[in-house]
Symmetry: C2
Subunit: 254 residues, 2 copies
DNA sequence: CGATGTATTGAACTCGATCAAACAGTGTGG
DNA sequence: CCACACTGTTTGATCGAGTTCAATACATCG
């Protein structure tokens, strides 16, 4: 029965937190082996979502929280007139749904940018586990705190930066994110469209396109559709930080 | 010894959570009487801050969280090039400092807009109390969740709304906030300067001023410096929600 | 192959920023 | 009490970054 064997091996190994490729950046990361096993029992792994499918939607009843296992998603809120604003892109290890707590309903929606899988945990069970386990509680609060910091940085970007800086900051953040996930810092495969990037950064899609080409002509990037290669990290950082680099040539900073 | 008597009465009554004017919108609101008394022992009430003084600053070591007791503050982050972006205004009952948790340092600064007082709680003590007390834990998480929602709304405002909508939304939010604090919804005394409003809303101070005068000329507001009277809540909401009201005249909606 | 979604590029326009100046309120000191 | 400085606010005139409109290019897929 080869098929059944496959299923068993999936349940007993690949599906376990101990063997998860995202273990090092998941909220479960500091748990002791036996606690991790206990945490594992709370988790369900629903069928992966295809690109464009929604994990949950603003207004849905809040009782599950999610962790991105693989793939990537966009989180967005909607204004009273139906316009949507992407508030973040999320990757492996990111926690989703927590902001729904207060109103007992999710207040934003999450949509897969590519085929993506998730860990699903009933919030009440999670709360109990966190209550028993200081490490888990700590990691949970840290995840919320990190998310708030991320949002504040986006507020700064939208409130104060010109479009050149916005794009540069976005790429720097993506680069750091990819690196944290074990990929190259210079090679970014974007899972989101220009439209999504523009929406997220509060600018027109045409401006995104124009600036990417401009950065390419300045030998900061190589752009091939969704595949961005960062040629000059130093200059990209300088733009993102709004550093004047009149005396910049080619080398490293001191 | 009249002076000493004053001090004693301050410590024993006015300073107690039971008698706090902000009790109904503080994270302590759901606590039973004895739990509230216990919570009260964790709290210190440092000397009030004068306008312009800082409660804490980005980079300071995080070990205290604060609740605004009276007055109002602005919270702001700073970009790498020193520019600041106000991320929120806070009033009685608001929790301050939590986003510092992850990095173990505050990542934003808080400055008093007027003479303001605060409740100060060592975070470790608070954590213990919350661990013992589900209501407190719940309120704490709700406060974080509420804060995240507030930030997301600001992201939407900065990313998608034109300046007219931004101002209208700001006033609607302030109005709701004042009402929640027991004040009139139509009578707003702003504790922040036009400069702060402009910074918060991501626009120029001149634009703020111009739009306020425009709203005044349209009989939506009456503007007298920091004192704003909302004459037509309905139209203000319509602008903030971006509703087309071509068929609007003077009456109420259905 | 045409059809559809996505991305780039060009040209014209507009909203809001910037520059500039005047004005109002508040406190200080002669 | 008025002149002065100082901070915050309003108003006017100009300018430009980025949007919008429009056309084209590219890619993926039936």
């Amino acid at each position: 029965m080869p098929e059944q064997k496959d299923i068993i091996s999936f349940d007993s190994a690949k599906n376990k937190c101990q063997y998860c490729h995202a273990a090092s950046f998941c909220i479960s990361k500091d748990l002791a082996d036996n606690d991790l096993a206990a945490f594992n029992t709370l988790i369900k792994r629903p069928k992966p979502l295809q690109k464009g499918e929604r994990l949950f939607q603003a207004g849905d009843k809040f009782d599950l929280i999610y962790i991105v296992h693989s793939g990537s998603v966009k989180a967005y809120i909607e204004s009273s007139d139906g316009e949507q604003q992407i508030t973040g892109f999320n990757f492996s290890g990111d926690l989703l749904g927590i902001a729904g707590l207060e109103e007992n309903h999710y207040n934003y929606s999450v949509e897969a940018l590519e085929t993506s899988s998730f860990c699903e945990i009933p919030f009440t069970l999670f709360e109990n586990a966190a209550h028993e386990n200081p490490e888990l509680q700590q990691q949970f609060l840290c995840a919320m705190s990190r998310e708030m910091t991320r949002e504040q940085k986006l507020i700064l970007l939208l409130g104060k930066m010109d479009s050149k800086r916005r794009i540069a900051s976005f790429l720097v953040a993506m680069s750091a994110r990819m690196q944290a996930q074990g990929y190259s810092a210079d090679n970014i495969i974007l899972s989101m469209t220009r439209h999504d990037i523009a929406n997220y950064l509060g600018m027109a899609i045409e401006t995104v396109s124009r600036l990417l080409t401009q950065f390419q002509s300045e030998d900061i990037l190589h752009v091939a559709g969704r595949h961005i290669t960062i040629i000059n990290q130093h200059r990209l950082h300088a733009i993102s930080d709004n550093f004047i680099e009149s005396d910049y040539h080619t080398g490293e900073t001191a």
